[in-house]
Amino acid sequence: MSATQAEPHPLLSVTDVTVRFAGLTALGDVSFDVRAGELFAVIGPNGAGKTSLFNVLSRVYQPASGRITFDGRDLLRLKTHQIAAVGIARTFQNLGQFPHTTVLDYLLLGRHIRMRSGIVLGGVYLGPARAEERENRAYCQRLLELLDLARYRDQPLGSLPFGLQKRADLARALAAQPRLLLLDEPVAGMGLDESQDLAAVLLDIKEQLGITQILVEHDMAMVMGIADHVLVLDFGRVIARGAPAEVQANPDVIKAYLGDDAGSAAPESARQSDIAAIDAGS
């Protein structure tokens, strides 16, 4: 929206995507582009459709209409398990799914598409499977060290505090060596220090690894600080799109968080801190 020179072909192009459930429109005609290498944030009040958007991108939901192109290919033709192979990785909002899996095994699970041995090779083990295991365990070890998780390597995910689980989940997504990383509320449940650390990690991912990131988040200060572009959703529709500064000043955005009437009943406290962050800039 704001670029003046010819833009490079966007990595992800979402056009008029609509998702409906039994009469409820979770997403209505949502369109946006994400350029390769950028950090793109999706914000909006609760129920705005952010998770639905992620579920469409990770092919858990099928949109009622619309087109999505990823790296030139039609994303909507892919099934859920195929997105990892084309380079899309996603972190999870809630982490109760694999409580007994150790951190290392979880990362190795992230390496699933980068490895090849099946039941037969695995059962025999000596030979290709063992070499593959060694190599990938080494890779995951380095990744763990990078994210300061090495000492939790053999601990089951369920035994870790939520913030560490989130970090392990991020490591797992990175382990797949994705081109596009979908981050579902990466700093939820973290204190100020932790979320600042993670914000720095995300910037590292962008600058050092060149991975494109799409972020769904409620923490305004963090988002405005690191995002290149922001998309604002409300009731499933796009109400603003652009650089953080533009979006912050957008009256529709402020209205979405404040409510229709400035004098009406007090908004939820979450919205209040959102408003504070928007007002304060960052």
């Binding site: 999870f92 007994h100 899996t101 041995s117 099946g118 039941i119 059962g123 499977a129 295991e133 000492r151």
Partner: protein, 394 residues
């Protein structure tokens, strides 16, 4: 470049997890082997036959654990695949029919019929899989239950192979003219039939256990467990749900087929009602009691559900209303029914879970005794089997 871990936690430095590494573990295994050796040499037919049936049961339990414990697919239908394997073995290896009503047999070698039993059962799994595995949870359970009844109906009616309701004979393993059924001295050593079976079953169980353990510590095993824990999450990570479920189903059916063939071959006889629902439930009880998703758990579970009752029976000289062989009496059934409930309520990881708790307590006790800080608790009691040799020590 080795993939060794950086700063090890005190627990790791003190006592590595694998049962093959710690001194205590090695001592236990040695003790176990010695006991097995003693039974083998001096046990006589009674004890050896209990052992032999238990070994066969362990192979089937292992197969079930692959499907249900590791991959999370409920199945009450393992006896169907055991039956398929058994009748394949009978048809390929059985004596050629002499009289008109005799069941079919091609008289082929044991080296053909045993693997074939597994392969045909695996093929059955491959055929049934795409339909069955579309179902989840309870529905899959009911269909697997239906499979047992459908199997019984088929076995009853395909009289040419199965001998119908009155059953048929099954071939004994052998090489050339040497047969397990009536063994002759080899290199001057005369082993009994039960002893030969013991050696064979031990080898088959050992190979199966190592194979399954290897699968579970590699990519395929991780994928299975991910499918069990959360299908949607696993799919997002790139796991092809259908392929993984099919793989588990086929491997499980293969093991069940081999176990079925051996189970029938041992007494040399079986009828269609051998492959029944009660037996299926006993195998499910075995994985729950021994430990789901655990190789050692499968073996322990088989011992508990199949060996222990027989041992108690033999020791107390009482006979309960069972048909001998692999079945256990009614009192025993009440016990394992209660054990299922007890384990599910209090220790879902089965006996392996209990053992692991014991291990951790011992380890804390050890470290405290050696002075210095108590070891940090590394893993919860619900993590997996001891045969999952830990990462860096490859």
């Amino acid at each position: 470049m080795s993939a060794s871990a950086p700063v090890a936690t005190p627990a790791q430095a003190a006592a590595p997890r694998g049962s093959l590494r710690s001194t205590r573990g090695r001592a236990l295994i040695l003790a176990g082997l010695i006991m097995l050796g003693l039974v083998f040499l001096f046990g006589g037919d009674t004890w050896l036959s209990v052992l032999d049936y238990t070994l066969v049961a362990a192979i089937a339990t292992l197969g079930l654990n692959v499907l249900t414990g590791y991959a999370g697919q409920i199945s009450l239908g393992i006896t169907f695949f055991m039956g398929v394997g058994a009748y394949t073995a009978a048809w390929l290896g059985g004596d050629p029919p002499v009289l008109k009503g005799d069941p079919a047999g091609l008289g082929l070698s044991f080296l053909i019929w045993l693997p074939a039993a597994g392969i045909v059962a695996a093929l059955a799994g491959a055929l049934i899989g795409p339909t069955a595995l579309r179902l989840k949870g309870f529905y899959l359970g009911i269909v697997s239950l239906a499979l047992v009844f459908i199997g019984y109906y088929l076995f009853l009616n395909v009289r040419g192979i199965t001998g119908g309701a009155q059953g048929r004979s099954f071939p004994a393993p052998g090489f050339g003219s040497f047969s397990f059924a009536s063994p002759v001295p080899v290199f001057g050593v005369q082993l009994t039939s039960n002893q030969l079976y013991f050696l064979l079953l031990l080898v088959v169980l050992a190979v199966s256990s190592v194979f399954v353990g290897n699968v579970m510590r590699s990519r395929a095993g991780r994928a299975m467990r991910a499918v069990r824990d959360n299908e949607a999450g696993a799919a997002i990570m790139g796991v092809n749900l259908f392929e993984v479920k099919m793989g588990a189903f086929i491997l499980s059916s293969f093991l069940a087929g081999v176990a079925g063939a051996l189970l029938a071959s041992y007494p040399g006889f079986a009828a269609p009602n051998t492959w029944n629902l009660v037996l299926s439930i006993q195998f499910v009880a075995a994985i729950l009691i021994g430990g789901v998703a655990s190789v050692w758990g499968s073996i322990l579970g088989a011992v508990f559900v199949f060996a222990l009752p027989q041992v108690l029976e033999t020791l107390s000289q009482t006979q309960s209303a069972s048909s001998g062989g692999i079945a256990s009496g009614d009192l025993n059934a009440i016990i394992y029914g209660a054990l299922i409930i007890a384990f599910l309520l209090f220790e879902p990881a089965g006996m392996i879970g209990l053992i692991r708790r014991g291990q951790m307590l011992l380890r804390r006790f050890d470290d405290r005794r050696k002075g210095g800080q108590p070891a940090r608790v590394v893993a919860s009691s619900e993590s997996e089997s001891q045969l999952d040799v830990e990462s860096s020590k490859l």
